[in-house]
Each structure stands twice: as C-alpha cells, then as structure tokens.
C-alpha cells in the first residue's frame, strides 16, 4: 500500500553484445522514433491544411507508451488516451493506418468515422478512446474481467493524464477495479498540464500515487522519461498482477513538450520547466541508453532513424493517395445486425 520511488538502476547483467541484444532498448527506441516522426509529419500535414479538425501529439511522453506496450503479453488489453501513439505502435498499429485514420480515409481503422487520437483495434485488444476523459477506465476494467472469466490471464493498461484524475469516472473505475481485484494498471501520465491548467489546480496531494492508499491498492511513482527502466518496472509489475490480480496506480512523471494540440502555442508553460525536461528528453535518453548498454552502436541508431523516417514517408504518401469515405455510407452500421 506504499508509494515506491523507482530509480534508474543500470542493469547489472553481463555486458556482452548477445546478452544486450535481448534487452528491449532497441525495440523501445524504434517505437518511440516512429511515434515522434509520425507525429511530426501529422503536425506538418495539419499546418498545410491537409488534416481537418486537430492534431494532438505526445512529444516528450513517448517512453511511457513504448515501455508499457512492450511490457504486456498477447492477452492484455489497452486503453490508450490522448498522448499514447506509442502504445498504438507498440501494440502493432501500422504507421500507415495511423495516417489513414488522421486523414479520415475510408481505409483507416475507423473508416473515417472518427479522427485524430480516437482509434484502436479491438482485435488486437486496443480500445479506441472516446473524448470524454475518464470514460475508458471502467470499460477496460470490465473487458479485463470478461477475459479473465474466459480463462485468459489478461492484465489491463488504462491510460490517463493528470487532468483526467479529477473526473468522477477515474474514482469509480479505480474503486471498482479495487473491489473486484481486477488487474488493471492505471497509467497516469503526469505531464504537468491539462491543456493550460497546471497540476496545482488539479490536485492537492503530494504525488498522485498517494491516492492509491484511499483505494486500498498500491501506488507507484516512476520516471516517465526513462523507457528501459520503466519497461523493467512494468514488466515485473505485470508478472505480479498475473500471479495476484489487483489494480495498481502507476504515476509516470513527464512533460508535455509541445502545446495541447498543434493549434496551441503553449505560451502559458514556464520556460524553465520546459528546459528541465528538455535535458531529460525521452528520445535522447533512449538513444544514449541503447548505446551505453551496447544494444546498438551510434551508427546503428542513425540507421534505425533513417529506416523509421522512410517508413513514415512511405505511409504518409500512400495514405494521402487513398480515398475518403463515401457519403452514401453515412447511415450504415449504427446498429449491429442480428
């Protein structure tokens, strides 16, 4: 029931090249690079007027989704939110489908019926979010309950921001999961802001992980910018929850390094705060880490970036060329047949 502070402990394991190759560093880095490059391209498309609506990116928070997505097994269920493209990519969403989706193409996962951050793939266990903050938390809780009844050892990952912890649904879902011992990791991405509102206007507790005590569950506070360490922590946590099902609050400290959306100049964010987190950019940390761990050489990292960029470029070009939905299909599929 206590709050634990995790530290960035470098692996004591052997440093041989083959042992390091088994570590997730390069997988995580690839996921984070694809996320960053895809989002960068989406922002460009938005400013070019080729994406309607809005674009909401996760710059600065890529490690959290990459680490938590990699930590889950095939039966696990995910409900990513607004800053979680790396969860989608980490759970197998092709970058091509993300472009299709954001461009409102009929070929996309939501067939143009929803846009921006609202996508997912239930066949892969990734729930498409709705906008209403907090609303997905009980859904993934119920979904995990159903899977476990069917004998599948599912663990759930439910994501939310610091702001969403103020909603009633957060309380209802965490308490519900606690009462029924549902193994859901509530991944709170404390990125210091909810749109323009700083966390001082969101809660009074020292750390959001302290709230766990009130639900009779465990709360963990972690560094959200160190992907490899976070992966290790969550990997261990998942094993524990499979052995003894129960929910956990996992509070990841991080920073939204851009505006709330591509439309927002985030002039309300203090520059010193940004600078503090710029020094701990999760992509820089991940690059340095894979090199330090011997998983990749600097040249291999550079090569990986090129490969990711090429994948993003190709996906974007293809999606741009694909068709929008046919207005004649507007009223189809509101109800399931049968």
């Amino acid at each position: 029931m206590s709050r634990k502070q995790t530290k960035a402990t470098p692996p004591a394991a052997a440093r041989s090249r083959s042992a390091q190759a088994a570590l997730p560093g390069s997988t995580l880095l690839r996921c984070m690079l694809l996320t960053q490059l895809t989002e960068e391209r989406l922002v460009r498309l938005y400013h070019q007027g080729r994406i309607s609506g809005g674009v909401y990116i996760s710059r600065g928070q890529e490690a959290i989704g990459a680490a938590t997505a990699a930590a889950g097994g095939p039966d696990d269920l995910y409900a990513p939110l607004i800053r979680d493209m790396s969860v989608h990519i980490g759970r197998g969403e092709p970058v091509l489908d993300i472009f299709r989706h954001c461009l409102g193409r009929v070929t996309g996962p939501m067939k143009g019926r929803d846009g921006n951050v609202h996508y997912g793939c239930l066949a892969r266990g990734v729930y498409p979010m709705i906008s209403h903050l907090g609303a997905m938390l009980p859904v993934v809780t119920g979904a995990v309950m159903a899977r476990r009844r069917q004998g599948r050892p599912a663990v759930g990952f439910a994501y939310l921001g610091d702001g969403a912890t103020s909603t009633g649904d957060f309380h209802e879902a965490v308490n519900f999961a606690a009462v029924f011992d549902v193994p859901v990791i509530f991944v709170i991405e404390n990125n210091q802001f909810a749109y323009s509102t700083p966390i001082t206007r969101q809660f009074r507790c020292r750390n959001l992980a302290d709230r766990a005590v009130g639900y009779g569950i465990e709360g963990l506070a972690a560094d959200g910018n160190e992907a490899v360490d976070l992966y290790r922590l969550v990997r261990g946590l998942v094993d524990q929850l499979r052995a003894r099902p129960r929910p956990v609050l996992l509070v990841c400290d991080t920073m939204r390094m851009r505006g709330h959306g591509a439309h927002d100049d985030f002039s309300y964010v203090p520059r010193d705060l940004l600078e503090r987190f710029t020094a701990r950019d999760p992509l820089d940390l991940a690059r340095a880490r894979v090199i330090a761990d011997g998983a990749l050489t600097a040249a291999e990292v550079a090569r990986l970036e090129q490969v990711c960029q090429a994948e993003v470029d190709a996906a974007c070009q293809q999606a741009l060329a694909e068709p929008p939905p046919d207005p004649a299909t507007l009223t189809e599929g509101v109800y399931a047949a049968g």
Partner: protein, 327 residues
C-alpha cells in the same frame, strides 16, 4: 399447460432466469441485486441459483457499471445491468451515449448489453425516484429502447433485448411492477423488438402510448365505449426505438384521430416524435389535429395530490378522448 398469475416484476425475474439458464455468457450486476434481490426484487433468488460469479453486487457507481458492461460486452459476455432507479442513470449517461452508442458505428464491434431501468411515477417517489426518461434514451444513436406494459411482453421482450447485439435500454415501470398481473404459461417465445401491439381495437380514435399509460388508456377507452361516444383503439408501442412506424400509420389510417399519451415531460418528449411522424406521413389521414397528453414540464412532485395532477390518468385521457371525438 397450467397458468400462473404473474406480476410484471415476476415476469422480469422469469426472463432473467431463463437467460441465465440458457446463455452462459449472460451476467447480471448492479446495486443490491445479489442476495438481496434488488430494490424491487426483480433479481430475487438469481444469485442463489446461479452463483456470485454470474449475479453480483457492485459499488454505487453508475458510470463504472455501464463502462464495465461495455467492456464485457466487447469481450464475449452479455451483461445485463440494473439501475436501481432510471433517475440515477443520468449520472452516467455519457457511457451509453458516447461509448456504447458509438462503438459499432466506429469500430464494427457489437456491444450486446442491456440496461434494466425501473422508471415512472405513481408511487410518491418524488422528483428523483419517478423520472420517465425514455426521450433522452431514444435520442441516442446506436441504442435501442424497449418499454413493456404487460408481464407476458416484459419477459418475452427482455429475452430479445438481451440477445440483441446492441445496447438496449429496457424500461420497467415501477407502478406496473405489482399493479399488473396476467395468467401466464411457464413456456414462452421471445417477442421481436420493434413490433407494436394493438391492445384494444377501435375505429374512431387511436391512443398511441406505452408503459403504465397503456393501462390508463385502456380504462379510458372502455369508458368512452360504454358511454357510446365511439370505439377507441389502444396501440402499445412496446419498443420505442426502433419504432414500429408501420403500426402507427396503420392505426392512424384505421381511426383518423390520434391521441398521444405518455407520463414523461412534454417538451421534446417521445410524443413529439410520434406527432411528427403522423404529421409527416399521415397528415392526409387526419380528421382532427393530433393531441398530446403528457406530464407538464415540471419536476415530478411528491405529494399524492400534486402527483395525481402531474401524471396523466384514465380520467384525463377520457376527457381528452371525448374532446378529440367531438372535434
């Protein structure tokens, strides 16, 4: 086959029992529905018979209840949740509107869940235990709304609602729970959703209604006929969404005078939808303007004297019919 006298709430219990027996994927949950059997005893004995894994109590958390049901429904279960009173569903209606109602349209994944919701007045429940909210639910895309008036319909429609692959709001009128009884056989066939029923034939006017008002309308029609003022058809809609528009239009064609009755509020009420349907598609068949008899746009009052004035009843329906027939 032997018949048993059955109240509406007993019929619902029978429907739930049958679903639990025949469909292993059905689970029931809500507040106080387990060993206690629910605030109105609709789930009496079910936890004892089917076990706590399939019939269980939850904390007081309507949004988590709906949300969990949505999650379960997308993973192969068929949840049936009980609201203690429909009034409390409004704390969580966003889950139905935004999560349940949009899921199939957005993803192609079905959400086979049912929300059972005791509703309506006539029991001195006051403003927060008497609401009649079908119009809110009918406004939501992707959601179906069922509202039985008779025990036989209740159990047969409940089975269809639960087996439907979509979210269904199943409204149960609290006043009718124990005020209406039928002699029913132990076996029954499901009734498809979206099919209205003529409860009483007539050729001079039709009352379009549902829920508790069906019974009030039947009494009023009986009296009108005894007085020799005309014969009045009563059409029980049974399902509000999808609406049996063909049955409504056929009733209008057969009678040419329309009285719409419901115990929910007037402005934006379901009667407005019915009146619009008649105006759009059967205007040429009308011999008189469509009349709506509804609750006024005021909170449901507590005192019996006030609630009687608030809620339509056989007497006010009778008066409205006489006026309509005299037009």
């Amino acid at each position: 086959m032997p018949l048993a006298e059955t109240t509406l709430v007993e019929a619902i219990n029978q429907g739930l029992r049958r679903l639990l027996r025949e469909r292993p994927e059905v689970v029931l949950f809500g507040e106080d529905i387990g060993a206690f059997g629910g605030a109105f005893k609709a789930t009496l004995g079910l936890q004892q018979e089917f076990g706590e894994a399939r019939v269980f109590d939850t904390p007081i958390c309507e949004s988590a209840i709906f949300g969990a049901a949505i999650g379960m429904a997308t993973q192969g279960l068929r949840p049936i949740v009980e609201l203690q009173f429909v009034d409390f569903g409004m704390t969580a209606v966003h889950q139905l509107l935004n999560n349940a109602g949009t899921m199939h349209y957005r993803t192609g994944v079905a959400v086979p869940m049912t929300v059972r919701a005791p509703c309506g007045g006539g029991i001195c429940g006051g403003p927060f235990h008497s609401e009649e909210l079908e119009a809110f639910f009918c406004h939501m895309p992707g959601v179906k709304v069922v509202y039985p008036a008779f025990p036989a319909d209740a159990r047969a429609l409940l089975v269809s609602a639960a087996l439907d692959p979509n979210p269904v709001i199943f409204l149960e009128n609290k006043y009718l729970y124990r005020h209406v009884k039928e002699w029913l056989p132990a076996d029954w066939e499901p009734i498809p959703l979206g099919v209205a029923q003529v409860c009483r034939p007539g050729s001079d006017a039709v009352v379009l209604t549902y829920g508790a008002m069906v019974h009030e309308a039947l009494r009023a029609a009986e009296q009108v006929e005894q007085e020799g003022a005309g014969t009045v058809m009563v059409l029980d809609l049974r399902t509000l969404k999808p609406l049996d528009a063909d049955a409504v239009l056929a009733a209008v064609a057969a009678t040419n005078r329309v009285l719409i009755v419901h115990e929910g509020w007037r402005t934006g009420g379901f009667g407005a939808e019915l009146a619009a349907l008649v105006a759009e598609r059967a205007f040429h068949l009308l011999d008189a303007p469509v009349v709506r008899l509804t609750a006024p746009d005021v909170p449901v009052p507590f005192a019996p004297e006030l609630e009687r004035a608030y809620r339509p009843g056989a007497d006010t329906i009778h008066a409205a019919l006489l006026e309509l027939l005299d037009y």
